[in-house]
């Protein structure tokens, strides 16, 4: 039986749309896009971008398409194993994505094409690097045309990056409030006065916003005679944006990273034992994909990667995610995707029908979840009853490697003290009872003298 589903998120661009056929992601290229598609493929740009790892590759299929009367081609893009969104990226991830978008626009211009839009959602992380996924975003460059995606680039990339860099990293979450990035008027209101000392920000955000505001009431776009600029000026625009983006930096507070090394929860021997045990358990479960929840600086995520597992390392601390990403880039790690995630407020479904951007838990199901020294935070900081936590992990994956931190551990005592004891019952007996409803305890091994224990759990229905 043939099963087809039209993607509810792929409706903005008349050039084509995405649909799913028998579990395969396909994209119909419409006849209206024919000229641009042919130029992209025959003019050398596609090959150049795919060869440089900047654009997702695809294959053309002999298929009628979802709407055959509109179809020119049907393509099957390479699958991205796990989709992520800008509000889950660290500063450096966001910045790298912006630079890739600009590099693509530069190369497109040099080959007589241009990006007709510049949405941040057209970029994904694949094999450790940002990659452009919207094959239908390219159109033939018409001599004299300005860049249609300029404002979108400023709102989707430059404004959030400037706010993260000059105000606070947490402002990346504004992208969660609006799928159109950060509106220019909001960005300039939030930016500090010192942003006027940066020529790139003055030009692309402050002055740009003023002119945009001055013409906000015009109903019709200006005639093409009024808006003409040379290709050299467009390349200059890309250069200027690139220099502005490169000039933005974000340095986590020193204490944030330093504290990871000052954690006295393990002696060196205990830490080695824990690492050895985690490695053994990962080998034993024989999965292909892992989610490391509360990954911290990614030490254990890297063990999973070394074993060839596709790993998503989640942490709620932007400094941790930044560090994991930087180290992964330096090592050329291709299987590790670090992402920002607050488990108490995970990324929800957003946009049209709440389906345009899927919630974090709808985007994949790993073979195994690691939750090392996390459960006491969920139970005590988040005040979650143990039954809720067992149910949560049951939904995520068939295998679970979990480190239980006992009630007499100094970290647990410290968390409890801050809560004045106002939390649900937390001890090993309750943990084992609640988790045994959904999981079989395959193995439990103590890792510290204080009683921290590593569990390997298999879901009862797995």
């Amino acid at each position: 039986m043939t099963t087809q589903t039209l993607s509810s998120v792929s409706f903005r661009d008349p050039a084509g749309f995405v649909y799913c056929q028998q579990g395969d992601l396909r994209r119909q290229v419409n006849l209206v896009y024919r000229e641009h598609y042919d130029r992209l493929m025959a003019g050398g740009l596609y090959e150049e971008l795919v060869g440089s790892g900047l654009l997702v590759q695809h294959e053309e299929l002999e298929a009628p398409g979802w709407e055959p009367e509109l179809a020119y081609k049907v393509i099957r893009p390479e699958t991205i194993p796990f989709l992520s969104y800008p509000y889950e990226w660290s500063f450096r991830q966001y910045r790298d994505a912006a630079l890739v978008a600009l590099e693509i626009q530069r190369r497109a211009l040099l080959r007589g094409m241009t990006l007709k839009d510049c949405s941040v959602y057209n970029l994904q992380f694949h094999r450790g690097r940002p990659i452009f996924i919207d094959t239908l975003s390219f159109e033939t460059y018409r001599e004299g045309s300005p860049w249609m995606g300029y404002r979108q680039f400023c709102e989707h990339f430059l404004a959030p990056l400037a706010l993260m860099s000059l105000v606070d990293h947490r402002l990346s979450q504004l992208c969660r409030a609006s799928l159109e990035g950060v509106a220019l008027d909001l960005a300039v209101r939030l930016l500090p006065r010192r942003s006027w000392l940066r020529p790139g920000l003055v030009m692309h955000l402050h002055l740009h916003e003023r002119l945009q505001r001055a013409h906000a009431d015009e109903l019709m776009p200006p005639s093409q005679d009024r808006v003409r600029m040379s290709k050299r000026a467009l390349l200059g625009l890309v250069d200027s944006l690139e220099a502005t983006v490169r000039g933005l930096r974000w340095k986590p507070r020193d204490s944030a990273w330093a504290s990871y090394y000052q954690d006295n929860s393990y002696s060196p021997d205990e830490f080695d034992r824990k690492a050895r045990l985690v490695r053994e358990l990962l080998v034993r479960t024989r999965g292909e994909s892992v989610w490391d929840l509360g990954a911290n600086t990614g030490y254990f995520s890297r063990i999973a990667c070394e074993l060839g597992l596709r790993t998503v390392a989640f942490d709620s601390d932007p400094a941790c995610v930044e560090r994991i990403y930087q180290e992964a880039r330096e090592r050329g790690e291709t299987r590790l995707l670090p992402l920002l995630l607050d488990l108490f407020n995970p990324s929800p479904g957003l946009g049209w029908l709440n389906q345009e951007r899927a919630s974090i838990f709808e985007r994949g199901s790993p073979d195994l979840v690691m939750a090392l020294a996390l459960i006491h935070h969920l139970a005590l900081t988040g005040n979650q009853p143990m039954d809720n936590l067992a149910e949560f992990f049951r939904r995520l994956a068939p295998w679970l490697v979990l480190e239980f931190v006992p009630e007499n551990d100094p970290q647990v005592r410290s968390l409890s003290a801050r809560r004045f004891g106002a939390h649900h019952a937390y001890n090993r007996e309750i943990f084992e009872k609640c988790f045994s409803k959904h999981f079989l305890i395959i193995l439990s091994e103590p890792v510290t003298a204080a009683g921290r224990t590593l569990y390997l759990l298999r879901r009862r229905d797995a």
């Binding site: 839009d117 300005p146 300029y150 740009h208 002119l211 776009p221 093409q224 200059g236 250069d239």
Partner: protein, 65 residues
Amino acid sequence: MSSFESLYGALTAVSSSMRLWGYLDPGTGSMLFQVLVAGLLSASFFLRSGARYIRDGVLLKLRRS
């Protein structure tokens, strides 16, 4: 005119303007702004390209020789 015909007419009008300006609202001010700063950007690109040419083309060759 049936509602279908009026809807079809509206969609055709939208799609013909899309052909001209794309499906995205690029912002009138944004387009005018690009044109306003075009001279500056063009000059900056010219200077940067020149600098790159001298650095990569001439100086590197001199060093190698």
